[in-house]
Amino acid sequence: MSINFGHTAWILTSTALVLFMTLPGLALFYAGLVRSKNTISVLAQCFLIAALTSIIWVVIGYSLSFSGEGLFIGNLDKFLLKNIKITSLTGEIPELLFVMFQMTFAIITPALIIGAFVERIKFSAVFLFTLLWVIFVYAPVAHWVWGNGWLAKKGVLDFAGGLVVHTTAGVSSLVIAYFLGRRKGFPKIAHPPHSPVLAMIGASMLWVGWFGFNAGSALAANGNAAMAMLVTHCSAATATLTWMCIDWYKNGKPGLIGIITGMVAGLATVTPASGYIGPMGGIILGFLSGFICYWFVAFVKFKLKIDDSLDVFAVHGVGGILGTLLAGILATDTFGGLGIEKSVYDQTVVQFIGVISVALFALIVTIIIVKIIQTTIGLRVNSQQEEFDGLDLGSHGEKSYNL
């Protein structure tokens, strides 16, 4: 196969879009949801994760994920990207571009986890956590699903990262939030997001950037990409309206925070299915994700009492799992999907296996990582005073608003 310049143009663009999702998109989304005294720390964490993961990816992450035919992990043939020429191709696009595109996925995944540990984690712990997590959780799972590993061989459907991105990030969020412990007053005392405006800017950027995420995962500028974009959009729009209506019904008023949370849930949910389903499937996923993620937010907070502060598990984890489980069913003709090779039943079993194995793997490895950090440099900032004053001053020596 030779290079296709149209496809290449679109994936260059998609790469920019997916980086944009993290910086500044996700960073703002999260920063707007915390208190103003922790704004800087969220932004700095996001930047740190982006920079660090990039280097890890170039050095070893890409190779572990996408080199070789191992069932469970790649090899080191592409250590430091050696052996990749400017003319090497992945499909019809330059492999170097594929490296970059995938790097942006590797960046956003640990960045999602920020939502679980905001307002109390040590900055150095974020460094160490990212380093270990990208290598020992992200890279293996990426290999299983997209790097021709055992789940790929089983035929699991995960178009743009329901398993690789959202399930891993969601489950690990629960783990790290659990071991970090709760913020003072949680869950009794609520703190309003300090800037719904910032959160909305970030959420909007996520919506737009997600076009690169999902439609870019077609690795081509064709009808498949167009369909992925369309169903992504349908799911986001439906989930937005669903969440808004639940809030309206329950609290008497539809809040902006609910609106954008619903949207993000819709996007996360449709991700694994986005290349296989039709508009109807997108609408169904959006509707379900609105309801189910909404319910899980309260469940994690008030039943499990885990301080997954910005609801990463409930929104991303649950969304990603939901979308993965339903991908097979909604991909069928009945729901206007593009059709699947296996029977619906067989496919759904595979999807189920995918979810269970990825979730378990993320759970266990993250526990190990967290324990290592706890017993070495420590996970949580040292003093209550630092938490009270906020990580902005405590960990970064800066204030977010000097009006």
């Binding site: 609520a190 309003p192 329950k250 008023k253 809040g255 925070i257 609910g258 949370t261 907070k301 008030f302």
Partner: protein
């Protein structure tokens, strides 16, 4: 000389200033404050969490006046700021021992 401190609804501040100006009060100082009183606040919801707001935005006006004008100024404020609804606010009066205009060094009545 007296210092009048009035805690009022923010929406009334401009009006009060105008009315005071008409009766010859040409200086005052305004601060944004938060008040807690009988007026109840409201509840906000964020992702299922309830957040109770009990402090409400109020505006504090501080006005130094000569004792002779005290009554007139207070009456003007009360009349302008009163809506009859809870939360209209309060007026506090304290004694001023001295007033100094920094620009000129003038003291007392002249400095107000």
């Amino acid at each position: 000389m007296k210092l009048i401190t009035a805690i009022v609804k923010p929406e009334q501040a401009d009006n009060i200033k105008r009315k005071l100006n008409e009766i010859g009060v040409h200086g005052l100082t305004m601060t944004e404050v938060k008040g807690y009183g009988r007026q109840k606040g409201h509840t906000e919801f964020y992702r299922g969490s309830k957040y109770e707001v009990t402090f409400l935005p109020k505006t504090k006006l501080e006005i130094a006046v000569s004792t002779s004008k005290l009554k007139k100024v207070i009456d003007t404020i009360v009349n302008t700021a009163r809506t009859g609804k809870i939360g209209d606010g309060k007026i506090f009066v304290t004694n001023l021992q001295q007033v100094i205009r920094i620009r000129t060094g003038e003291k007392g009545q002249k400095a107000i």
